[in-house]
């Protein structure tokens, strides 16, 4: 997969749990888990914006492109 989701790295940096992020962002745990494990096929701008606000970071901190 070319796009890597670094949500777990950012959570560790911010010392935040997935449950806390879920409550703050308003996205279900299962959906965040899908995102964290890289199973997600797409992410809405609104979700990305909410996560960036909660983690105080840029989209580039969460998503990373890697060549195969």
């Amino acid at each position: 997969m070319a796009i890597i989701v670094n949500l777990d790295v950012m959570l560790a940096k911010r010392k935040m749990s997935l449950t806390e992020l879920s409550e703050e962002v308003g996205v279900t745990m299962s959906n965040l888990s899908i995102l964290k494990t890289g199973k997600a096929k797409a992410i809405r701008f609104s979700t990305l914006q909410a996560i960036c606000e909660a983690l105080n970071c840029q989209p580039g901190d969460i998503l990373e492109y890697q060549t195969d």
């Binding site: 996205v27 899908i34 995102l35 199973k39 997600a40 096929k41 797409a42 992410i43 809405r44 979700t47």
Partner: protein
């Protein structure tokens, strides 16, 4: 999400499909029971009811006849002078083959309706976009195409039997191409299968959008 009420039609159809499957099997057994009990009969029931009568026809007539108590409405056309004697002995040799052909036709239909029942079951379970459903639709389409070809083959076979039984050489039996038209229905169902495959992909994608 409560969709139970919306899927009540699926419930209704699901149970109906099982009734159709049971009906197909029961009718197959009852039709062929005369063979199993040893009774062999052969009548040409129409266009005139008496098999011993001479029919002089100049027009094409769709036959409607009775073999082993099964009322055939085969797409066969008859033309010519019609004189049929008691032909039990010559028909008996091909009777088993006819049963095999009928069994295969019935099996195709049972398989078709079984797959339909499985699709309806997935709809009842509120999971119509099961990835298996597109495969099922593709197989169902293939079965319909195969059934249409098989029906034509069956008609050819029966026409061949009648040709071998004829007394008057001017009488001719030909299988009609009418049944082949249903190939298009099969292809249509296959097309639906391809559309369903795409729909399933979109549904999966939508489900994994965060």
């Amino acid at each position: 999400m409560k969709l139970k009420k919306d899927w009540s039609l699926a419930h209704f159809l699901y149970y109906n499909v099982w009734i159709i499957i049971t009906g197909l099997i029961v009718s197959f057994i009852s039709i062929n029971s005369t063979y199993l009990t040893g009774g062999i009969s052969f009548f040409i029931n129409a266009p005139y009811s008496d098999p011993m009568v001479q029919v002089d026809s100049e027009e094409l007539i769709t036959t409607d006849f009775l073999v082993n108590d099964e009322h055939y409405l085969m797409p066969i056309q008859v033309k010519g002078r019609f004189l049929v004697n008691n032909s039990e002995s010559s028909f008996a040799t091909k009777n088993l083959l006819l049963i095999v052909v009928r069994f295969l036709k019935m099996s195709i239909l049972v398989a078709f309706f079984y797959l339909l029942a499985r699709i309806l079951k997935s709809v009842i379970k509120e999971n119509p976009f099961d990835p298996l459903n597109s495969k099922r639709l593709l197989i169902m389409g293939g079965l319909l195409v195969f059934h249409a070809i098989f029906t034509f083959g069956h008609a050819l076979f029966v026409a061949d039997i009648f040709s071998s039984l004829q007394v008057d050489p001017t009488l001719s039996f030909k299988a009609d191409f009418e049944s082949v038209n249903s190939i298009f229905f099969g292809l249509l169902v296959m097309l639906l299968g391809f559309i369903f495959r795409k729909a399933t992909e979109i549904h999966q994608e939508q489900k994994l959008t965060v």
